[in-house]
């Protein structure tokens, strides 16, 4: 049987998947993050990146930025499923608006000596990464940028002596004067 049959085989359709960045404004109350994550795991959606922090403490608002992948139908579902949760105020698909800036911060630890130290500093300069910790045999760089730039920097550090990486995940905001 090579054609999809019944709802159970929907997932086996190989429709092209897309990556979308969603900004979700939620009431900052206990369990709200568990609700959002539980939705993704329970319904089998992907989380590529997840960033969450309180953004307006007076109003107890938190902003969750989720990068997810799926077919257009699944992305649509994810947005509706998020939107109907009681503590969710708004869901904005930053990818669809096409007018958003995405940034990620990473701290990258590199170990090495001699030419490798020089090379690491040279690359860091090219990527506008800052040195935030240094010993005689290591650096910790702080780099900010879109995910591709951060990944590229990490890839370049690997042969030089990459020890470990801590990434914040993607934060996104719309361009222009309007808020979400």
């Amino acid at each position: 049987m090579n054609q999809p049959a019944s709802a159970y085989f929907l997932e086996e359709r190989h429709d092209p998947t897309e990556s979308h960045t969603l900004s979700v404004l939620v009431q900052n109350e206990p369990g709200v993050l568990a609700r959002v994550i539980g939705l993704f795991s329970g319904r089998g959606y992907n989380i590529e990146s997840l960033t969450v922090s309180e953004t307006e403490s007076q109003k107890h608002l938190s902003r969750i930025t989720i990068v997810t992948t799926g077919t257009p139908m699944v992305i649509e579902q994810i947005k509706h499923q998020l939107d109907r949760m009681v503590p969710v105020y708004r869901v904005v698909d930053m990818t669809l608006t096409g007018r958003s800036i995405e940034r990620e911060l990473a701290m990258v630890k590199v170990r090495g000596g001699g030419d490798n130290r020089v090379e690491a500093l040279r690359l860091a300069d090219a990527f506008r990464a800052r040195v935030i910790d240094a010993t005689t045999e290591s650096f910790v760089f702080e780099i900010t940028g879109n995910s591709a730039k951060v990944s590229q920097f990490i890839d370049l550090m690997r042969p030089i002596g990459l020890v470990e990486v801590s990434r914040t995940g993607v934060a996104a905001i719309g361009r222009g004067p309007e808020g979400m």
């Binding site: 049987m1 054609q3 999809p4 049959a5 019944s6 709802a7 159970y8 085989f9 929907l10 939620v26 009431q27 206990p30 369990g31 568990a34 609700r35 539980g38 329970g42 139908m73 649509e76 579902q77 509706h80 499923q81 939107d83 109907r84 949760m85 009681v86 503590p87 969710v88 105020y89």
Partner: protein
């Protein structure tokens, strides 16, 4: 400090809970006491406005509350203790979530300082029930309790209804704080269900309907949930348009079974004419249903030539399984009202005579026909006779899950909404008996019948004791074929007739069992005994357990093998061994 001792709104958390129930018009509460809810039970003892129905297992309380809610349109309310009390509620909560039933469940919790300590009868109730509720709350401060309780009722009953849990630690029940009656500001500002449909979309829908030549209306449980007015409007729409109408299992009764445009139920065990109409239609109007896999069959072959209009209050139901052309987000009743108004003002009844002629040909196949038998009672016959026997009575039907449920849906005619209580989405065996209790509590003078199977009924039969204690004269009508009939049917059709563990070796003697519980036990073995025994059952004003012995190996037809299209339905007359084998080839992996 001011003296608050005379402030009537100063009270303990436990008192607030009872007070909130009263303020929300709750008359009945289903529950089971335990350590972590003792303060609440103490308050219940000292008042008479809310009647508490003591069940025998928390699952029974949940299903009873569901039956209560479905038959009244009011929320069902449950009170259970922490730990096992809460975990036993998981099944009914999930059931209510799947079928959009408003439940408010209050659970006790260990004192706040013990939370996280693996205390006696502790469990992470909000964590466990998060995926099976519409929303839930853990209340850590008694001064938040009133707000949370009011919000809980609001969330459960508005938008797409569903179950909610309020978890209240024991120290919060003892603590004193300030209560306030329900007010608007109790609700999350982020929770704003949409009730009114978009006018442009409604106009588009009317244009499609007016131009239809082969239309069908497909209604679901959303129409029932929306309230009686929605059913009335649906009937009016059918009248005004002259369109044929079918419904999901959950939607039975919104349009009367005797209505002239009624095609019967659709889906896996629906009628041939309804499924063919769905497959061949040019415009489909879906009202408050969700294109579930039991309805659609094979999704890529689902109604291939139609434009689809979908009315639903939950945006996440739109385009979930099936792409629709005109989505309308809003409450079924509200949208139907607007749609009717526009249709009457701007459109004419389209001429669909040719379509009705096509439908008549399908109808003539008589897809629910079965061979009569004078030796053994056929289950279809039993339901038909039960339906006849209950005519003229104010009847409510609940069911368990399996073959008997499908036969009940096929052969019992429902004329009104809120008369049919069945576990549709989750398919919970053991739902029907406790649900019947809930229905009977809400309608003490009505005839409430649980159409059961011999396997399902054993899952929650302890609740017969509840029926006796509270003098709830429910009738448990068991189609006893000594098998888990639907499991056996699938094993026969899909697994080489290897009947692995679907035979109940040691069934109880149901008549003696009834006696042991203090109910009345009846039995019918021959078709000739049936009518007399049914009459007797209905005349008895006490709980009755009716053991109706039916043909053991009868299969439920018609059937769309799962993974097949609507026009690949297997009819009973054609279900020879070869045809069956061919129809089911390759479908084994599906549910």
């Amino acid at each position: 400090m001011t003296d608050k001792s005379h402030d009537p709104n100063q009270m303990t958390g436990a008192a607030m809970i009872v007070r909130a129930l009263i303020d929300h018009g709750v008359q009945h509460l289903f529950g089971y006491p335990g350590g972590a809810v003792l303060p609440i039970y103490d308050e219940i003892f000292q008042q008479s406005e809310v009647e508490h129905i003591l069940v025998r297992h928390e699952q029974g309380a949940g299903h009873a509350a569901e039956g209560y809610a479905r038959s009244t349109g009011k929320p069902g309310v449950v009170l259970v203790t922490s730990g096992p009390g809460a975990t036993n509620m998981v099944t009914p909560l999930t059931d209510a979530l799947m079928d959009s039933i408003p439940l408010v469940c209050i659970t006790g919790q260990v004192p706040t300082h013990l939370i996280g300590n693996d205390a006696f009868q502790e469990c992470d109730t909000v964590g466990i029930t998060r995926p099976c509720t519409k929303h839930n709350w853990l209340v850590r401060d008694v001064n938040d309790l009133a707000k949370v309780l009011h919000e809980a009722f609001y969330v459960a009953t508005t938008g797409r209804p569903g179950p909610v849990v309020v978890d209240v630690p024991k120290d919060v029940q003892f603590a004193t704080g300030t209560y306030h009656p329900p007010r608007k500001s109790d609700v999350h500002v982020s929770y704003t269900p949409r009730v009114k449909g978009d006018a442009t979309q409604i106009r588009k829908a009317v244009a499609l309907l007016a131009g239809a030549r082969r239309p069908v209306i497909y209604s679901g449980g959303g129409v029932i949930n929306s309230g009686r007015e929605a059913s009335k409007l649906l009937r009016e729409l059918v009248e005004v348009t002259g369109f044929p109408i079918t419904s999901t299992l959950m939607g039975l009764g919104a349009y009367p079974a005797t209505g002239k445009n009624w095609l019967g139920m659709l889906g896996m065990h629906g009628t041939y004419e309804s499924n063919m109409a769905m497959h061949d239609c040019d415009v489909m109007l879906c009202v408050g249903a969700r294109f579930d896999d039991r309805i659609t069959g094979r999704t890529d072959a689902f109604s291939p030539g139609s434009k689809k209009i979908h009315i639903d209050i939950d945006p996440s139901s739109i385009n979930k399984n099936i792409h629709v052309d005109v989505p309308i987000i809003g409450d079924c009743g509200n949208v139907l009202g607007d749609l009717l108004q526009v249709f009457k003002a701007e459109a004419k009844k389209p001429d669909i005579k040719a379509w009705w002629q096509e439908i008549a040909v399908w109808r003539a196949r008589n897809s629910l026909a079965y061979r009569k038998n004078s030796e053994v009672i056929l289950p279809q016959y039993a339901i038909e006779r039960l339906f006849e026997a209950t005519r003229g009575h104010d009847t409510y039907i609940t069911t368990e899950v399996g073959q008997h449920q499908m036969w009940a849906a096929q052969f019992f005619g429902f004329e009104e909404p809120h008369r049919w209580m069945t576990s549709g989405g989750l398919g919970t065996m053991g739902y029907g008996l406790p649900a019947a209790l809930g229905v009977q509590v809400a309608h003490p003078d009505s005839l409430v019948i649980d159409i059961a199977g011999d396997a399902s009924v054993q899952m929650t039969m302890q609740e017969m004791s509840t029926a006796v204690q509270f003098e709830l004269p429910i009738k448990i009508f068991i189609l006893n074929n000594q098998y888990m009939g639907m499991v056996r049917q699938w094993q026969q059709l899909l697994h080489g007739n290897r009947l692995s563990h679907s035979y109940s070796e040691a069934l109880p003697d149901f008549v003696k069992l009834a006696d042991a519980f203090g109910c009345v036990g009846l039995q019918a073995i021959k078709p000739g005994d049936l009518d007399g025994a049914l009459k007797e059952m209905i005349s008895i004003k006490r709980p009755v357990l009716f053991d109706c012995r039916v043909a053991a190996l009868e299969n439920c037809f018609p059937m769309i093998p799962s993974g097949k299209a609507h026009n690949e339905m297997l009819l009973p007359a054609e279900a020879t061994d070869e045809a069956t084998a061919a129809a089911f080839a390759g479908g084994k992996a599906l549910v």
